[in-house]
Symmetry: C2
Subunit: 545 residues, 2 copies
């Protein structure tokens, strides 16, 4: 039996495009003599469709795609993820299902049992869980169909669900397992995914065909890496990361092979590639080609520009240099050098005339007050306004250049440097921004070395340095990681050896700045706890604050 | 038996304040000879604590409050909602529970069975559902304990859950039902709440004591309205809306009374009162006293200012009048009159000098382009910057003045008029803003009549009117309501008699402007489908767009 894995980049709600991609893949599979083609989870709609799932019209359009795919199933089995309507009156209105079409008939509609409802996942918001397990027979083989999370409840110390679908299905004697997935990227996730597939195969002793999505849906990044695993736990085939792929596999070869062909993982490279794909897809799926961003001469805007240039082409990324009276001599020179290295067009617009106009206009209201953070924010907001003016006039999307450490402690100006349609490195701690910069420069200087080595500064008052108001980034990032990713409390973090006053100050800053993060751009998610839809915090709370 | 309902305004994560409020209420109940006091759902933590529930330190602090409450339970039963740790390794780590303390002992910890996971609710994200039903005995009475949603799965045509907790418990013969709730306000919800309590009592023929929260938690508003219902379906007692209340009831009186003492409802009054409470609590819980907002002379900023003045006092709401060359003669006069009517301080800051400075600075980049929406946005963003400068300098929170119709179709400038820490009327359609304005003026002119009667305009170019680019608001709002609240598709809305091209244009505008709503302030929620945490849409989607 020949089985085709179709690892595709879907577009949420773009039913025509999603259908056409799948129809093209079916044609490829047929031309390769395949018996069966497998698409991803909720492939008709794209993942995650979120509250569009609550619109009957949206489901009807997904069903139209299913009908058209069914019509293509002459002499080839087609397995495709899609929502299906729950026929019972009780419970949620939908299931998250895998449809099996063959000879223009629906052979089975198998529903997902384990519905992730944590972090970025909201599946129980929409779907009723399945408790009806059964295999599907196809050309003399018995197949155990599973959907994404269904294979993730084994081998954990703390299983999230009381049920394990494959434990229910194995006694029925499947010849192999199919998993249709939409499993998002995080650093480390490719390794975890391979391990969970191996764990399943080692437990059940039958091969597995695991098909993932690839591509970005706003902040959610899918890295692909679809897997064929042999019954003895070897990775027979792993599809590439960050690109579409259609691959036909001979089941007999899988059964007889002992080779392990897993890709080697490099977390830094994968973070880099994931972000580049995220920028490319955000623009492509919104129908935009060009970006704009402010270039300060610092490392954050430099890394953002370099990643955007790799995604869109340097000529499509416009840099705006907006020096103030507090900008250092090197700032403009470093930014210009960066733009030249990347082949970016750029403008230089000094902000002093606008700043002076605001100062004059506000003088009556500000009489008797002193220069403070207000005036720093005015500078940042003039820059935000200039960036947005260029964005509006020329149809570029403004890129936000803030890093995760700044976003965490609120070191940034709302409606100023926090402007932008997409946060490119908002899930990258400052210490990792330095690592990314060096990775980008590995084959030669792209980011001016001076941008990497000089002390970070917002340059909003004379001789300002980040270290005036924040601890060293290596200490800050350690504390943030323990609080944000590991959800440790203050006493635990202090017990790890960190200064008590500092820990309390940092945790307080994280919590009181929730209001800023609430109003900033979606952030390309590369960690297991990114700001955005996966981290939901109340604003008026008073906890550690 | 005497039973005390404690309808309190909790503060999320503010464990000391929440404990002290409950301890004070216990003292009141004891002084009134009460046998039993009932607090709300998740009363120790405030509702919704959201992802703070994932922090073990947060749960530990809630447990400290429980220990202190237990210590107060000498000679009085105390029922209080709080998270409890799931002792099983499988499943979610927590239950959403009601603790029953008496004589310094835990008599029962009863877990919520029905976990709302829709709209603003994310309970299955955190909690394992209960399937262990049982009563608690207290002073010879058998009590059925329930938590909020547990009583909401009856009498629906489309029950969300396969289980009905009280159907399980009724055969055990309870003498009465207790429900600890955190049931948020929407227009109509007070009526629905009374109806659901009546439906339960009519079905089970035993009295019910229903205790709700009051107060606002960022966008979520709790109206109170706790209920004592007799076994024959009468509302024996309803606690007030929008204020704290502690009330001790004699169970014998409930048993013997046939009186129905339900409050009469007035949707417009309740919307008004809910928003005023929402503003007051947002400021109070964040520790702020003063607001700032831009006054355009139009109805949206006027209604926002009037509501804020009722919440904070007119003297604590600062208006900024920022006329441009396109402002009409009446704009400044109407805004000044409003400020005087409300006793608000105000500043007048013409924006032309800043606008000219930007025009000059951008001239090289904009060479050969024409005045368009970019220049309109620059004006709006100069105003946003001025508002934020006043906010930063004087420690006021900037109020966003956008209405729901504008937010829906993206008729507003990101980082301009969409600035602000809190959206006051962002869940009020424009047609309802007019109704609110007339309600505010019912005892005399607060909002200048001219602001109500003149044609709405953004005044960003000569002779601009909203009606140049939008249909009449009564038509627009009807289409928006069918799409947003009722989730109807385009063909259904067209079939209702609306113009096809208009419907398609409006639905497209709603969907392509998701990126703006993503970055705007939390919105006080008064409808059953507000923008914000209860409506989750992907940005890069292409559906009806």
């Amino acid at each position: 039996m020949h089985i085709t894995l179709a690892q595709l980049n879907y577009h949420i709600g773009n039913f025509d495009v999603n259908y056409q991609k799948m129809a093209d893949a079916v044609a490829v599979a047929k031309s390769e003599g395949s018996d069966l083609i497998i698409f991803g989870e909720l492939a008709t709609t794209g993942y995650p469709p979120r509250d569009f799932l609550e619109f009957p019209d949206f489901i009807a359009r997904s069903n139209e795609v299913l009908d058209k795919l069914k019509a293509l199933s002459t002499d080839i089995g087609i397995i495709v993820g899609a929502p299906s309507v729950n026929p019972k009156v009780e419970g949620k209105d939908l299931f998250n299902s895998a449809y099996f079409f063959y000879q223009k008939e629906t052979q089975r509609v198998h529903h997902k049992a384990l519905l992730p409802t944590y972090d970025i996942f909201d599946e129980y918001r929409y779907f009723e869980p399945n408790y009806d397990f059964g295999l599907v027979e196809f050309k003399g083989k018995k197949i155990a169909l599973t959907v994404c999370e269904d294979i993730w409840n084994i081998g954990n110390e703390n299983p999230l669900y009381p049920v394990c679908p494959l434990d229910e299905m194995l006694p029925m004697g499947p010849d192999f397992i199919i998993n249709v997935s939409a499993s998002p990227f995080t650093v480390m996730h490719a390794e975890e995914r391979k391990q969970i597939v191996k764990d399943n195969v080692n437990r059940y002793k039958v091969p597995m065909f695991y098909v993932n999505h690839v591509g970005a849906q706003t902040e959610i990044l899918f890295d692909g890496g679809s897997i064929v695993a042999g019954a003895n736990g070897n990775i027979y085939k792993e599809l590439p990361y960050f690109e579409e792929a259609i691959e036909t596999i001979d089941l007999d070869d899988v059964m007889s092979s002992n080779q392990d062909n897993a890709q080697t993982d490099d977390n830094l490279r994968e973070m880099h590639d994931a972000i580049v794909m995220g920028v490319r897809d955000y623009f492509g799926k919104l129908g935009f080609k060009t970006a704009v961003l402010g270039l300060s001469g610092g490392i954050d805007s430099a890394v953002t520009a370099a990643l955007a240039a790799r995604a869109l082409g340097g000529e499509n990324v416009r840099g705006i240099l907006m020096p103030s009276q507090y900008s250092s001599d090197h700032s403009v020179a470093d930014a210009e050098q960066l733009a030249k290295n990347l082949g970016m067009p750029y403008d230089i617009i000094p902000i002093k005339p606008m700043y002076d106009a605001f100062e004059t206009a506000l003088a009556p209201a500000f009489e008797g007050t002193e220069f403070n953070v207000t005036e720093e924010n005015i500078q940042a907001r003039i820059r935000g306004l200039l960036n947005m003016a260029i964005s509006n006039k020329f149809g570029n999307i403004l890129l936000n250049t803030s890093n995760k450490s700044e976003m965490a402690v609120g070191y940034g100006t709302l409606y100023g440097d926090l402007c932008g349609g997409l946060s490119v490195i908002g899930d990258v701690y400052k210490t990792d921004v330095f690592r990314l910069a060096r990775y980008i420069n590995k084959d030669g200087e792209v980011i001016p070395n001076n941008s990497i080595t000089k002390p970070p500064s917002a340059e909003l008052r004379p001789n300002q340095k980040d270290s005036d108001s924040l601890p060293d980034y290596d200490i800050l990032d350690e504390i943030l990681f323990e609080y944000i990713e590991n959800r440790k409390g203050p006493s635990e973090i202090i017990e790890m050896g960190h200064d008590e006053a500092l820990v309390k100050r940092i945790l307080r800053l994280v919590n009181i700045n929730e209001f800023k993060r609430y109003q900033t751009a979606p952030t390309l998610r590369v960690s297991r706890k990114s700001f955005g839809m996966g981290r939901r915090m109340p604003i008026v709370a008073k906890y550690l604050s």
